[in-house]
């Protein structure tokens, strides 16, 4: 103690204890900062953030999808923060129960900051984690938006859902700690919520909107942003109201019952929640349903068209910037085609089947108009060779609805034209086929009706793709009329293009 006595002589004088009602709130904010720092350093929260950030990087790397539609990219930001939210729920609950668990309540009840203010601090401690999640969401969305192939418009309300989910989970963690001071309550709540989310998927659309994050089925196409029919703003209001209600109920339960401001706050928050819940449960508005029908049946009424050389590109307004990508593919296919096909007028028309919303994934019917090619609303990956095949098919047959019926030797020409100008043609061949192979017969995926390649077609196309592109192009131009004539046999095509006849069973050569 001699040392301590010596220390005392040099240690500073005591800090004056703050006084007055204003300092109580300063203490609440100081406590919130203290709790927030601890919350951010908890292992479950750190782990959840690490997984979340890894997921963001994985999702947004260029090779995954370089052509996002931002009205769907905003929704893709919602799942990751939920993981952070669950970790925050556990840890916020643990922090609320800390005093009870370790018996410091006896001491802390006689300290100046009352229990209800401590609860306010616990709720506020979730805010920095929420803001960090918001930074993650903003980063993920910005990354997507900055991709050169990005089109469309994101919704601020959809972007708010992720951070609001974190806030909601934190508020529920605090409320649960005040309602049920048991360590197992939070893990059990998480299990219950997971079960509830599975259960609500079987309900109508109103019930699934009770969960924080509401995904959509299908997913292989994008709708124009004004036709999504998602009540995103109502849902954000519902989540904000619910988080506020949970937070204020926790304050009420910890001694704030007599505070009129808190009572009024609970009533207001509950009203917000109900308004949001009712608003989000009304389903797709009638005018949206009508607009979906209009854009599905008569897309030309909303198209914006751009004529380049002999091709007219008609796109929905949000997709107009994608014309360059389509034109690159069309020009590539045309450059390999025979006389007449290189400068034949073509219309590339964007279409979407919007009548069933995002819950279904319907195929588009092939266009019946001559020299018209359908392009969908997604791009990148397999969509590029699929579109190239459609362009080549129209150049060879003259009409999109005739392409899926090709079973003769023209299939070789169509597929070679489609793939030869792509950066890695053999890889594109594999990816455009349903079985991801480059041997045997297979279905060729398309945005409209699928095509089918026999084993003989596959063998010839593979051989052609391994040869110098210009050599084959010269032979194609020379023999264009015969190569594109209906009924031309695969053997004849092989002969014209300087290949051996394919070694396959005769049965496969028959058009059925």
């Amino acid at each position: 103690m001699t040392t301590a006595s010596a220390d005392r002589a040099t240690t500073p004088t005591p800090a004056a204890t703050a006084a007055g009602p204003r300092d109580s709130w300063a203490a609440v904010f100081a406590l919130a900062r203290f709790e927030a720092r601890r919350l951010l350093l908890r292992v479950p929260v750190l782990t959840a953030f690490a997984v979340y950030l890894t997921w963001i990087v994985w999702r947004t790397r260029d090779s995954f999808d370089g052509f996002p539609a931002l009205q769907d990219a905003d929704r893709a930001t919602q799942g990751g923060p939920l993981l952070v939210g669950l970790a925050v729920l556990l840890c916020a609950n643990h922090a609320v129960l800390r005093s009870d668990r370790y018996g410091t309540d006896r001491h802390f009840t006689v300290l100046v900051v009352q229990p209800w203010r401590r609860t306010v601090a616990h709720v506020l401690s979730v805010v920095p984690v929420t803001l960090l999640a918001a930074v993650g969401v903003a980063g993920q969305f910005t990354w997507e938006a900055l991709k050169p192939g990005a089109v469309g418009n994101g919704s601020p309300a959809e972007l708010l859902v992720g951070p609001l989910s974190v806030l909601l989970c934190g508020a529920f963690g605090v409320l649960l700690g005040r309602l049920l001071p048991a360590p197992l309550a939070a893990p059990l709540l998480i299990v219950f919520l997971l079960l509830f989310s599975v259960f609500t998927t079987g309900f109508g659309s109103w019930a699934r909107w009770l969960m924080p994050v509401v995904g959509e089925g299908g997913g292989s196409f994008n709708l124009p942003s004004e036709l999504l029919g998602r009540p995103a703003a109502w849902h954000a209001l519902y989540l904000a109201g619910l988080a506020l209600t949970a937070a204020l109920l926790a304050v009420l339960l910890s001694g704030g019952l007599r505070l009129r401001a808190v009572q009024a706050g609970v009533a207001g928050a509950l009203a917000l929640t109900v308004v949001g819940a009712v608003g989000q449960s009304r389903g797709v508005p009638e005018e949206t349903a009508e607009a979906r029908t209009r854009i599905s049946v008569t897309p030309e009424k909303v198209h914006r068209c751009d004529e380049r050389d002999a091709t007219t590109y008609c796109a929905f307004p949000e997709w107009a910037p994608r014309t360059d990508d389509w034109a690159e593919v069309v020009d590539g296919v045309r450059s390999l085609a025979g006389p007449g096909a290189q400068d034949r007028p073509l219309v590339v028309r964007q279409r979407v089947e919007a009548r069933y919303g995002l819950d279904n994934d319907p195929l588009l019917t092939p266009s019946a108009r001559p020299d018209e090619v359908t392009v969908g609303t997604t791009w990148g990956g397999n969509r590029v060779p699929e579109f190239a095949a459609a362009v080549a098919g129209v150049l060879v047959t003259g009409k999109e609805e005739a392409v899926h019926g090709i079973c003769d030797g023209r299939m070789v020409t169509v597929m070679w034209l489609a793939l030869a100008d792509l950066p890695d043609p053999v890889d594109a061949l594999r990816s455009v086929r349903l079985d991801d192979s480059d041997t045997g017969s297979a279905i060729v995926v398309s945005q409209t009706e699928p095509l089918s390649m026999s084993a003989a077609h596959t063998e010839l196309v593979r051989e052609l793709l391994r040869r110098p592109k210009e050599d084959t192009a010269a032979q194609v131009r020379t023999n264009w009329a015969e190569l594109t004539a209906p009924g031309v046999t695969t053997d004849r095509v092989a002969q014209m293009l300087g290949l051996d006849a394919p070694d396959v069973d005769e049965d496969e050569e028959e058009c059925s």
Binding site: T3, A4, R8, D23, A30, L31, H107, F108
Partner: protein, 286 residues
């Protein structure tokens, strides 16, 4: 100088048990010892004065603030340091974090000033070197000093210590006595204890509580004087003694009403305390 604490007629019953019965006290600067057997009502009195539980009857003020009102209670708490009988700790907190947390709950809101104050009290209780250590890794004595630091942080004018030396080894107890003595300089400290040595060494005043009532209120010397002429030595235990025990010399030390011609001994504070408890559960036998 007005007293720090002024209590009159404090009463509190738990069911049929009388925990406090018409307790009146006036406490001023210095260390006041609160002695009493188990169940005497010491902890209850401390909890009432620390505003942890309200008294059923009676009233008290701390520095002129009346804790029966919400505003008054807050003011009392602003001037209070409390070390409960079995203080809890957050084991994952460091000593610094725990005291800092308590400092925030005492409304020390300026971060830099608060951290200076936390370092000061941790130095004061000789824990400056281990302030970054997690509480779960500290010894029992160190934890008790963390609790004392938490009670003293913010320089409260009224400090309530409920049996702070229980469970400490003799060396730790000596350290604690020094800390409490220092805490009593310029403050009002109310120290509940079973240890009469603590009172003898630390307190300028002592209150004896039994069955929820104040049996004695005075200086330690006055309590000792209660036993003057009532302690004697004998070869066998005197059956008339209220308490008696064999000493290291082999003779019996008796406390009570001595027989004529008894070999009277110099009384101690403990003798005075035992006689004050006459009627309560205080008999000590060899």
């Amino acid at each position: 100088m007005p007293p720090t604490v002024s209590a009159s007629g404090l009463s509190l019953h738990y069911g049929g048990t009388r925990a406090l019965d018409d307790v009146s006290l006036r406490l001023s600067a210095g260390v006041t010892g609160l002695l009493g057997p188990n169940g005497a009502g010491k902890t209850t009195l401390l909890r009432v004065l620390a505003t942890a539980v309200p008294a059923a009857r009676g009233a008290f003020t701390v520095l002129g603030h009346d804790p029966s009102t919400s505003r008054g209670r807050q003011e009392v708490r602003r001037h209070l340091g409390y070390l409960p009988q079995t203080p809890g700790f957050h084991p994952d907190f460091t000593a610094f974090e725990f005291v800092d947390y308590v400092a925030i709950l005492k409304e020390l809101t300026d971060r830099a000033a608060r951290h200076r104050e936390v370092r000061r009290v941790l130095d004061e209780v000789a824990l400056g070197d281990v302030r970054g250590k997690r509480i779960k890794k500290l010894s029992g004595g160190m934890r008790q000093r963390v609790a004392l630091a938490a009670a003293l942080v913010g320089d409260p004018e009224f400090v309530v210590l409920d049996e702070p030396t229980v469970g400490l080894d003799p060396e730790q107890r000596m350290r604690f006595r020094e800390l409490i003595a220092r805490a009593g300089e310029g403050r009002t400290v109310l120290l509940s204890t079973h240890q009469t040595e603590d009172v003898a060494m630390l307190c300028n005043r002592v209150v004896v509580l039994a069955d929820g009532t104040v049996r004695f209120d005075g200086t330690p010397a006055e309590l000792t004087a209660q036993a003057a002429g009532r302690v004697w030595s004998s070869a066998e235990r005197d059956p008339g003694a209220k308490a008696g025990w064999r000493t290291g010399a082999g003779t019996f030390r008796n406390v009570g009403d001595p027989p004529p011609g008894a070999d009277l001994l110099e009384p101690t504070l403990e003798d005075g305390y035992l006689l004050t408890l006459d009627g309560a559960d205080a008999e000590v036998t060899a």
